[in-house]
Every structure is written in structure tokens, then in C-alpha cells.
């Protein structure tokens, strides 16, 4: 973040502040989800809200994700602005019918007679044995369906601004968080502000290759950029911020400039966000398409044991290695000898 600001907040604090400020400024906003009102407060992201706004606006729920999603849709049609919290994105699979068949379609199907201003917060888990069912990044499923917006901020500044924008948006927004971003800090202005959807950020300028990092993979791409610099490769790192709408212009312009595009998603690649970004860029370059490549989860289910999990995810080292191969195709393969896991990740012990 290059934006000036006195203070720095963690991603968690930034989300909490956005929620508190939006609830303050609009009575129709409420937070609903299992355990949003407890002492753990969703890792702190809902801290204190119950005390300030009371149980009518900070609601614990039964384990009924399908119905609660529908209830949020109905409340939204009636003019409220629900923020529905899911402690893992994997659980959104229980909400697909309401999100895909009703939330995404209501405004269109009813020709504008209703709108559905709601936010579905969902956290992607990683490491510490999250395993098969607590690690999935399923954002591409939502990118696929017209009527839904999908945003995946990667730093505290965007977390606050995107949450405010999502809450004020008159459409259903799938808000993608990553558990390992929660502890990261960034300068965050105190005053409320919004981050516009559909505008990507150049998180690190470069000339030789374009790296697009989705969600947590942005962090790995930035680390890969440092590694690449050591071998004289200048990588430009782009953070899409929002996946739907997607800022293809910025990515395509960078790829045009560098001639190489490596998209790294915090998800599987098959029919994923990485496929979309590459297809969208290639469609634009009838003449000289850039050299393109994708990285993401291994094409397997996520194993719990760290012995296997470490190879399930791309990391700074494997990203740098792939980027090197794309930039210097004729050189022997290069793998930087660094710890694959970043320090704050290695330090992660939960809480779950």
C-alpha cells in the first residue's frame, strides 16, 4: 500500500473496523452467522460488535447455512443489509442453491423489482491440518454466475475498503478472506472509505514477467518477486483485488509489456480464476499473445499432513522457479534454496 496513513492495522482489525463503521452509519446492516457473538469473535473480526450493537444486529445462528442464506436474501429484499459469516469457504457449498439460484438471479429475474444487498464472508483455511474440507478456495464457482460479485482483498487496507464497498453494494457479494492474511498489517485510515471493485493493483512493478496472485498467493508472489530479483529477473506483481468484476485491462497491459503472464491462484486451476484470467488476456491479443502459465493447488484433495500439504500449495520458491523457466526457457531449471513456507505461516498454530 502506498497510501499515506498514520496507523497500521491488522487484516482482522481492518475488517472489524469496517463492520463497526458500516453498522454505525447504516441501521439496516447486521452481522449474522454461527458464533459471531462469542468471545473468539471470528478471530476478532466481529470483536465488540455485540456490545455496541446488541443481539438484534449481531446474531448467532443454528447450523443451517442454506436457510440462513435464504433468510439473508429475504431480509435484503426487504431493505436490510446482512453480512453472513462463514468460518470456512468450504461451507458455502451448503449455500449454493440460494446463492446461485436466488441471490444471483433475483434482481434480473424480477426485472429490478427487488435487489439483494448482502455479503457472504468466507474464510479460506491453510496449514495446521486444515485438510480436505477446511482449505478450499472456491471463488471461481461464484465468478461463473452472473449477478454475483466476488472480491478477495489481500491486505488490511483493501480488507477495510472492500468490506465497506461490499456492504454498500446493492448486489450479493462473495467476500473471500484467507486465514493466513489475518495477522498481516498495513496502513489503514481511520475514516470510512471504500475500495472500488474492478480495479487491480500493481503491488510491485517489473518488466520481465507479470505475476498475478489471487488471495493469499499475492503474498507468495511478492516473495517470489524478491527471489527473482536476486537472479536479475524483474517481476511485476498484480493483485486483482476483485475477481468479478475483473480488471482485465490492467493485467493485459502488464502482460503486453512483459510478454509473460503467470497467474497463481489460491485454488485449483481447472476452470478456475487462473483459467479465466489467462483466457481473457489471450482473447485480447490476436497478434502477439504473451507466454502464459498457471499455478494453483495441486490437482488433488488437500491432505492434512504437512509432509504432503507443503507440495499441495504453490509457494515463493516454486513460483520463482516457474517464472524463471518462462523467462529463461533455455536455462537449466532453477529452484531458489529457501524455506518454502513463509515465517508467519510457519508460526501459525491456529487458533483453528
Amino acid at each position: 500500500m502506498s497510501l499515506p496513513s498514520e496507523r497500521s492495522l491488522s487484516y482482522v482489525e481492518a475488517l472489524q473496523e469496517a463492520l463497526a463503521q458500516e453498522m454505525e452509519h447504516d441501521n439496516s446492516v447486521f452481522v449474522i452467522g454461527l458464533n459471531v457473538d462469542d468471545h473468539k469473535a471470528i478471530q476478532g473480526t466481529t470483536q465488540g460488535l455485540i456490545d455496541t450493537f446488541g443481539p438484534e444486529r449481531v446474531m448467532d445462528t443454528p447450523l443451517s447455512e442454506d436457510a440462513i442464506t435464504g433468510i439473508c436474501i429475504g431480509a435484503a429484499m426487504a431493505g436490510m443489509r446482512p453480512v453472513h459469516v462463514h468460518i470456512r469457504m468450504d461451507f458455502l457449498m451448503l449455500c449454493m442453491n440460494q446463492l446461485v439460484n436466488m441471490a444471483a438471479k433475483a434482481h434480473y429475474m424480477y426485472a429490478g423489482q427487488v435487489s439483494v444487498p448482502m455479503v457472504s464472508r468466507s474464510i479460506i483455511g491453510k496449514s495446521w491440518g486444515q485438510g480436505a474440507q477446511h482449505s478450499q478456495g472456491l471463488h471461481s464457482m461464484f465468478m461463473h454466475v452472473p449477478g454475483l460479485k466476488v472480491v478477495a482483498p489481500t491486505n488490511a487496507y483493501d480488507a477495510k475498503g472492500c468490506m465497506a464497498a461490499a456492504i454498500r453494494d446493492n448486489n450479493p457479494v462473495i467476500f473471500v478472506e484467507h486465514r493466513l492474511l489475518y495477522s498481516t498489517d498495513a496502513p489503514v485510515p481511520k475514516a470510512p472509505y471504500t475500495v472500488k471493485f474492478g480495479k487491480a493493483r500493481i503491488s510491485g512493478a517489473g518488466t520481465d514477467i507479470t505475476l498475478v496472485g489471487v488471495s493469499y498467493m499475492l503474498v507468495e508472489c511478492l516473495a517470489a518477486r524478491d527471489l527473482l530479483a536476486e537472479v536479475g529477473i524483474s517481476a511485476e506483481v498484480i493483485d486483482p483485488v476483485s475477481l468479478m468484476p475483473l480488471d482485465v485491462d490492467t493485467i493485459a497491459a502488464s502482460a503486453e509489456k512483459t510478454g509473460r503472464l503467470l497467474v497463481v491462484d489460491n485454488a485449483w486451476t481447472a476452470a478456475g480464476a487462473s483459467a479465466e484470467i489467462i483466457a481473457a488476456v489471450c482473447e485480447r491479443h490476436a497478434e502477439k499473445t504473451p507466454v502464459v502459465s498457471r499455478m494453483g493447488y495441486a490437482p488433488t484433495t488437500c491432505p492434512t499432513t504437512p509432509a504432503l500439504e507443503k507440495d499441495f500449495y504453490p509457494n515463493a520458491s516454486t513460483i520463482a522457479s516457474r517464472a524463471h523457466a518462462l523467462f529463461r526457457p533455455n536455462d537449466p531449471a532453477w529452484v531458489p534454496d529457501v524455506e518454502p513456507t513463509l515465517p508467519h505461516e510457519a508460526a501459525f498454530r491456529g487458533p483453528f
Binding site: 443451517s64 436457510a67 429475504g74 434480473y108 429475474m109 424480477y110 426485472a111 423489482q113 427487488v114
Partner: protein, 321 residues
């Protein structure tokens, strides 16, 4: 409904008009259907009108109603605009949803008719969510939520009952039990018929009606609606009824293997449109009937004469501003 007081007579006339309007509108839809002017599936309520009419007659204008793809009856009973409905079925620009909804997704927010859905059960939590908002509003408005027997088999129904009861939402659930899900009988789908007993275990007051007598339904709904307005929390009506036509489409299907015409007869014997009409004197009834024919003819003409939506309309309403 003794029919002895003028007030009663007014109600009878109003109820009859609503029943008759629905019956004739759907008969008209069935008549037009073979011309292919209605290029979309229609799920007719013929025979089931009394449930929608009995309930909606006790709702206030600012109360909200939610129904299913088999929603013509509820839509009209709640006061949904007939011209817009007919134009919607014809796929015209003047339809309530500019032709984007068709018969299965009727909506008319001006009449507080929530949008309907072609995915069974999906509207149940949405109706509850709307009731949740009305509850916060504290103006005594309620939501009447209609659905079929099959919808109660979806998990979201149970989840919604629990949430609605837990938070005492102002919603009246009405299950139109016509005994079938497409052609599948209850015996293939329900372990027992103790639906009302089940609903009661959530602390929701159930009302079981084994015939679709319109005035019994109306009195039941009246009492339930009053209590809900005064904070009773959700209540539930299960009303046995019968679908006279095929599941989808304009025709009858008594020659298909799944039911016999004999099954229809007892229901036809207490046809609520006929019986209610019989409570009025011939002249008054004739006036109503004539007016209804005119209104329907008007609506059909309106639909016929209306233009198709412009091609650009395809791209409107994907996202709300």
C-alpha cells in the same frame, strides 16, 4: 360464513370474485396455450384456488405474500396485476418482469407479491427473511408463505421452521397439500403424514384442514394472522387440496397411470367456486362474472397488443445500481 349479515355477504362476494377470477383466468390460459402464444411452462392451480383466496382475503395490502411456480392463484388472490401477469406469460415488455420471469417467477412488489421460484422450497427461507425484516419494523405486517407438500421434504423447510420459531418471525406458513409432487404420491415421499405434529415440535401452532373449504381456510387464517400480528410467532396451516389439471401444462391427465378421474370427483363435488357462487343471488353473481370476463379479455388483449422487449433488455438488471 352464515351469509346472514351484509358484512358476510360482502365477504362472500369478494371471495367469490377472487375464486372465479383465478379459475377463469387459468381456464383462459389453458384455452390460449395450444396457440403457442404462451411460450413457457404453466403450472395451473385450478381446483386449489380456495387455499390462496381463503388466506389472502385476510391479509392487509401491506402484508406480504410468497408463493411458488404454481403461483397464479396466490398472485391474483393477493391483488397482483392481471394485465402484467398475462403480458408476462406472453413474454412481452409490459409483463411484470418484462418477460424475464414467465409464469414460474411471477412478482408484483407493488401488491407485496414476492417473486416466485421454479426451484422447490427456495422461497421458504426468503419469505422468512422478509418476515424477519418486517418483525424489526414493528408495524404488525406479516408474510404469508405458500408452498406444496413436496417442498416440506427439502431440508431448508425444517431449517427455516426452526429459525422462524426461534426468533418468533411474523410469518404464516401454508402448505397446499395436493398429495403429489409431479406424479409422485405422498406414500413415496413421506414416512408419515404427521406434518402438523412435526411443525408443532418447533413451538409453531399448526392448523390441519382436511378439505379446502374456503371459509374454513379464511377463518383459520384470520385467527392465525391476528395472533401473528400480536407476536405469537409463526403459525402453520396444512390444507388438503387437489390439483385438477396435469402437473404442468393446460390439460387433464386422468388417463395417465398415476391417478384416476374417480379421485377427482369428491373434490369437484365441493368445488369452491361453484359453492361460493351459489351463496350469492343470481343477479349479483352474473354481474361479477361479466365483470371478470371483461377484465380477463382486457388482460389478454393487453398482452396480445404489447410489444416484445427490446434486445438491449437482455443486459438490464444483471446488477443493481
Amino acid at each position: 360464513m352464515s351469509g346472514n349479515t351484509p358484512a358476510d355477504m360482502a365477504i362472500i362476494a369478494r371471495v367469490y370474485r377472487s375464486l372465479r377470477l383465478i379459475r377463469r383466468t387459468e381456464e383462459e390460459i389453458a384455452r390460449i396455450y395450444p396457440t403457442d402464444k404462451i411460450k413457457s411452462p404453466v403450472h395451473l392451480s385450478i381446483g386449489q384456488e380456495a387455499v390462496a383466496v381463503g388466506v389472502c382475503d385476510v391479509l392487509n395490502d401491506d402484508d406480504v405474500m410468497s408463493a411458488t411456480y404454481r403461483g397464479h392463484a396466490a398472485y391474483l388472490a393477493k391483488g397482483g396485476d392481471l394485465k402484467q401477469m398475462m403480458a408476462e406469460l406472453f413474454g412481452k415488455a409490459t409483463g411484470g418482469a418484462k418477460g424475464k420471469a414467465g409464469s414460474m417467477h411471477l412478482v408484483d412488489m407493488k401488491a407485496n407479491v414476492l417473486g416466485m421460484s421454479a426451484v422447490v422450497g427456495t422461497t421458504i427461507p426468503i419469505a422468512a427473511g422478509y418476515a424477519f425484516a418486517l418483525g424489526r419494523e414493528r408495524k404488525g405486517r406479516i408474510v404469508a408463505c405458500f408452498f406444496g407438500d413436496g417442498a416440506t421434504e427439502e431440508g431448508v423447510f425444517s431449517e427455516t421452521l426452526n429459525f422462524a420459531a426461534l426468533h418468533k418471525l411474523p410469518v404464516l406458513f401454508i402448505c397446499e397439500n395436493n398429495g403429489f409432487a409431479i406424479h409422485s404420491p405422498l406414500s413415496n415421499r413421506w414416512a408419515t403424514e404427521a406434518l402438523c405434529e412435526r411443525v408443532a415440535t418447533y413451538g409453531i401452532t399448526p392448523h390441519l384442514l382436511d378439505r379446502d373449504d374456503v371459509f374454513t381456510i379464511r377463518e383459520t387464517a384470520q385467527k392465525a394472522a391476528d395472533e401473528i400480528r400480536h407476536g405469537s410467532g409463526p403459525q402453520f396451516i396444512e390444507c388438503k387440496t387437489y390439483r385438477w389439471r396435469e402437473h404442468v401444462g393446460p390439460g387433464e391427465d386422468y388417463n395417465d397411470s398415476y391417478r384416476k378421474r374417480a379421485d377427482l370427483e369428491p373434490w369437484q363435488a365441493h368445488d369452491q367456486v361453484k359453492l361460493t357462487g351459489g351463496m350469492l343471488d343470481a343477479a349479483e353473481r352474473q354481474t361479477i362474472d361479466d365483470e371478470i370476463e371483461a377484465v380477463i379479455a382486457d388482460a389478454v388483449q393487453f398482452a396480445e397488443d404489447s410489444p416484445w422487449p427490446d434486445p438491449e433488455e437482455l443486459f438490464n438488471h444483471v446488477f443493481a445500481k
